[in-house]
């Protein structure tokens, strides 16, 4: 199955290093997956803003993106929890025929129609399968790819203590996102272990970073207060780095730490950590663009920061 990259809004314009890492990891030098670009993708759109204020607009805009994947018979591979939650929820909504009809009426203005991907059924019948939306972590955490990953590690991150933060929309609501156990998720921890690092357990691991749902945009002090709790729990386990599969959680940790501590813990996307272990050029991972310096992380794994 061909995947389509879905980077969303935050990664290309705020953390291009994540985009580089994902392209490198899934590309020829890395795991060699079949992934293509669809440059017409727009915003997912943001669940905290559009899903919260007008469901019809949200669904129509999400369906537009799904139509583009449907045209090429591709699976959407998102690198962000927000995009993942938004698009996956949209496919669920669109499985109701009434909703699908309403959305197609709107989409007819731009010459599109969402039906799902047609597949050959019994005899001459066709079956329409909803466009499948996968998270980057879910794609990596399949048997074949994980074995390739284990083989492709050039620089094991032994001795590195990693605090994994999953992010809410990766886990919940479970009726939509059932890729991992909502109360005991393992997939990012597994990837971290394959990379040779140690995943430390800390209190309230599944707690929210405090950014989502418009909280960071609306009441930044509240977002910072929630992040401080998270930070205290992580720093009490002496973690060297925070790893998350979501760029918005990353943005939250990265910008919020300076408001309550001078010695911040570096925070990276799981794709960036994978790229480091698989031997990518560290100078190109955009680590110097993070507000919290990643030099302690690089020093710990024996790479001299530039």
């Amino acid at each position: 199955m061909t995947y389509a990259y879905f980077f969303g809004c935050v990664i290309p314009s705020r953390y291009p290093g994540i985009e580089y890492a994902v392209r490198w990891v899934t590309g020829k030098q890395g795991l060699n997956l079949d992934v293509v670009d669809i440059p017409e993708f727009s915003c997912c759109p943001v669940p905290g803003i559009f899903y919260s204020t007008d469901r019809d607009t949200w669904l129509a805009l999400a369906a537009r993106n799904l139509c583009l994947a449907q045209r090429g018979k591709m699976e959407v591979m998102t690198v962000c929890n927000g995009c993942y939650g938004s698009l996956l929820k949209a496919t669920e909504y669109l499985s109701e025929p009434k909703r699908m009809g309403q959305v197609n009426k709107v989409l007819s203005k731009v010459g599109m129609k969402y039906t799902g991907i047609a597949e050959k059924g019994e005899g001459t019948r066709r079956i329409f399968r909803p466009v499948s939306v996968r998270h980057f972590v879910d794609v990596i955490h399949t048997d074949g790819v994980m074995m390739e990953l284990a083989k492709g590690i050039k620089k094991p991150l032994s001795g590195l203590k990693v605090a994994v933060h999953y992010g809410c929309h990766y886990l919940r609501p479970t009726e939509h996102t059932a890729i991992d156990d909502a109360n005991d998720p393992v997939k990012v921890d597994d990837i971290v272990k394959v990379l040779g690092a140690e995943s430390v357990d800390y209190e309230d691991k599944l707690a929210c970073c405090g950014a989502g749902g418009g909280v960071r945009s609306h009441v930044v002090e509240l977002a910072n207060a929630l992040c401080e709790d998270k930070f205290k729990n992580i720093s009490s386990e002496n973690a060297d780095v925070i790893v998350t599969p979501c760029p918005f959680c990353l943005l939250q940790f990265d910008n919020s730490q300076k408001t309550f501590t001078k010695r911040g813990i570096p925070v990276v996307h799981v794709a960036q950590l994978m790229a480091i272990a698989m031997g990518a050029d560290v100078g190109k991972l955009g680590l110097e663009l993070h507000n919290v310096s990643c030099n302690p992380l690089l020093a710990k794994i024996g790479m001299v920061p530039k």
């Binding site: 580089y20 759109p45 803003i49 019809d56 731009v110 989502g212 945009s217 609306h218 002090e221």
Partner: protein, 193 residues
């Protein structure tokens, strides 16, 4: 946490008054119906056990309690929900822990739908929607980051390529078809930093 309260109370003028006697004319009998129409279908079936409040990250920090907000909605005490409509992080922990499998987060989202339709529109919603209409994405492309992208050898941002105007046109057409621009009072021309 005094500062936080100040921030969101200054944004919306209503103030919680605990000692005030609530009379029938303060109640809105259609409130729950309205919430159900905007997707908070579980609002009337809540049994007030309080599991949602115990797991809510926001309830730990400020004077916002999920259970209390649901109770206000059931009684039709609309004024009392005004302060706390925009503080839910939509982490869905309440939904995960509800013993009756209800979804309090969707009730909060329905409250936001109602707020928008009453003209209470936080600036960030307007900014994001205006950016989407102007750039086709909610985040404005950053000049410094475009330079970094060139250094990394990444492909050009799609929104800087000539084909992007078609994408933008489609996004604007969808927003106009659902009348979202009129709801928020924005046009495709204005962009917000």
């Amino acid at each position: 946490m005094g500062e936080v309260e100040k921030v969101f109370i200054s944004g919306l003028s209503e103030k919680l008054t605990e000692d005030k006697i609530i009379t029938e004319k303060d109640l809105d009998s259609e409130f729950a119906t309205e919430i159900i129409r905007y997707g908070g279908k579980d609002v009337m079936t809540c049994l007030q056990c309080g599991n949602c409040t115990g797991v809510c990250p926001i309830s730990l920090k400020i004077e916002y309690k999920t259970r209390t907000t649901i109770k206000y909605c059931q009684f039709g005490m609309k004024q009392h929900t005004l302060n706390t409509r925009w503080v839910c992080a939509t982490c869905y922990r309440c939904y995960e822990h509800c013993p009756a499998d209800l979804n309090p987060a969707e009730v909060m989202i329905a409250l936001r739908h109602i707020a928008i339709r009453e003209g209470i529109i936080p600036p960030f919603v307007k900014a994001a929607a205006a950016n989407l209409m102007q750039f086709g994405l909610t985040v404005k492309p950053d000049e410094a980051m475009i330079k970094e992208r060139v250094k990394m050898g990444l492909p050009d941002l799609p929104q800087t390529k000539p084909g992007w105007s078609q994408v933008r046109k489609e996004v604007v057409a969808i927003i106009e078809a659902t009348k979202y621009d009129r709801l928020l009072g924005i046009t495709s021309k204005e962009g917000v930093e």
